[in-house]
């Protein structure tokens, strides 16, 4: 398990848990960042901290980990587990 702010850009990972203020965690889920979602960091801002995330066809900028903390795991370890489909490719 890895904190999302440590994930290198362009690598996909799966959200395992979300920690933070309950209302913010709820908002992240409402935006589609629920456990099990495949997410990647597209880019980081110049001074770090704020990142651009991609998941499905959504793009979200979020300041990590001040706003909310995401913990992710490598996609390859648990490939057998059936996931809710994000989009038909």
């Amino acid at each position: 398990m890895l904190s999302l702010d440590a994930l290198p850009c362009g690598i996909s990972a799966r959200v395992v848990s979300i920690e933070g203020m309950p209302s913010v965690v709820e908002r992240m889920k409402e935006l589609g960042l629920v456990e099990g979602t495949i997410v990647s960091v597209v880019r980081r801002s110049l001074f770090g901290g704020t990142v651009q995330l991609r998941y499905g066809s959504s793009t979200l900028a979020v300041r990590l980990p001040d706003t909310v903390a995401f913990y992710v795991e490598s996609v390859h370890h648990t490939q057998q587990v059936a996931l809710p489909e994000v989009h038909a490719a």
Binding site: E30, G32, R43, S45, T50, L60, T67, H87
Partner: protein
Amino acid sequence: MTRQRLRRHIALVGVPNSGKTTLFNALTGARKKVANYPGVTVEPSVGIVQHNAESLALVDLPGVYSLSPKSTDEDITTAALGGTLDRIPPLDGILLILDATNLEKGLFLFSQLASLQKPMLIALTMIDEIKRRGALLDDMTLESQLGVRVVPIVGVKGIGIRELKALLFDPQRWHVPREPLPLDSSPEERVSWARNVVASVLRNDQPDERTERLDQILLHPIWGFVAFAVIMMLIFQSIFTWSQPLMDGIDYAFSVLRQKIVGDSVAPPLLLDFLANGIIAGVGSVLVFAPQIFVLMVLVTFLEDSGYMARAAFLVDRILGVFGLQGRSFIPLLSSYACAIPGILSARMIPSFAERMATMLVAPLMTCSARLPVYTLLIAAFVPERKIGGFLSSQALILASLYVLAAVIGLVIAFVLRRTLLTDDRTLFFIEFPPYRMPQWRNLMVRATMRMQDFVQTAGTIILAISMLLWALASFPRVEPQPHMSAEEYRRMQLEQSYAAQLGRTIAPLFAPMHFDWHVTLGIIGSFAAREVFVSVMGQLYAVGSDDSSNSSLRAAVQEQLAPPVAFAVLAFYMFALQCMSTVAVLRRETGSWKWTVFAFIYMFVLAYIAAVGTYNITHALLS
């Protein structure tokens, strides 16, 4: 009023950036009367949709992701849908916008709206965009899955609008959707349901290539900031150059009007004097800001609609974060350079209390356009014009440095506030990046016009009231004109013996440390209507009969009457003091507390006072 109640009221709901405003304008028509309900000022606005002989009211609610609100503008939507918002009657139905490029989030919202058990209709937007990406969307399947009518709307041409309008007026074809999920479902369950629906109706959806390419430049660590700087410079440049001719025109029209009313008489009858110098002068000083606010709102709306504003917020988030603010603070601060009122209003999008409050408390420090006439007059009179390096003007340089200094000090104050009074909250910065889109010209015009009207209403009433009060203070007790007196001399004599002058003389000792005499003090009192009133008060006191800051006789009079250290102290005072009563009123409403409003006024006054005393002493020592 009764006709209003007989009309059906339909809520227009959608997630942010779903093309809601475009649809609202297309349905209500840009020229239809758009009324703001009092108490909530900007939103929700209500438009009237006409169809044959019938009409209905469309309530444009701020975009939301869910029905559990996380910011002030989301509160409005949830309250309106729940029927608990003042003055919005119970809603007869919901028109939901689903953005085809952002379907999952829209469906999440649908799953909650369905639980309200109201008749619903869906407008499916951005169909052309999803097609351009090579994806296929099956709107028939979507319709059968959701159990309500889905009307595809194709982009700018507004294909589907006619069908949507017909449906709007046919309650028989509105359906109460069956709840896809029980009311107490978790967000996870809703997301999972939404994903399943998306998977069954959308094929081959790809990220937007054009957006990816643009982001590679506009969000680049170096080129992104270069582009940002260029865009900001263009905005400032256009605010001034585009609005200047209009502002000059309004200024001129109102001075001609006043001249026409009072004519050449030395002492015009009281009523005419009140009309010319109380009411018309007051209306003029409100309207003169309208062009700048309009231009600013067009540009800000352009940046918002194009998708760039979210990127700008991302770029500056970490920098503003150092000072305890965040990326979303950027729009309020930028807007405040034209006027603090739209700036403070746009702070509603900031979800965390402390960051929102800090943003609103420092927004009035940004150099609003009402300060400009004061700056122009004093700089022209007291800063010797030299060319630095052959092309840079020394006066322009001083002016520019006042603008930059205001931002720097505003950030420092925010930093201090976030470590003293507003520590109780953490940073909440997140913002969705919509795909880049070409904004629609009509949209920009309609929204800018609405914001401008809102400004004229909000600021107008207050400025007009204070302007009339100031007129009364300056016109009583009445003084009889002496023979052979010019109109200017008479007005000066009247003013010098008025209650206003007495008030100025009474307060003047407060400003003794920076050597403001009662003339300057009177100018400061006058500025409570709007800061630029300082210029016209000076014009009257020095009997030059002009309120134009670029007028050379006024400049000469100011040069003669004010010692340079005093003039620079006045500049410093105007940089910081919260003299604008309209801003005070908006702060009161948006913070919801007198405590914070009074705090803002006092801290800015103290800051202004210290800066003025300091500036006086430093320049006095340097110049003597």
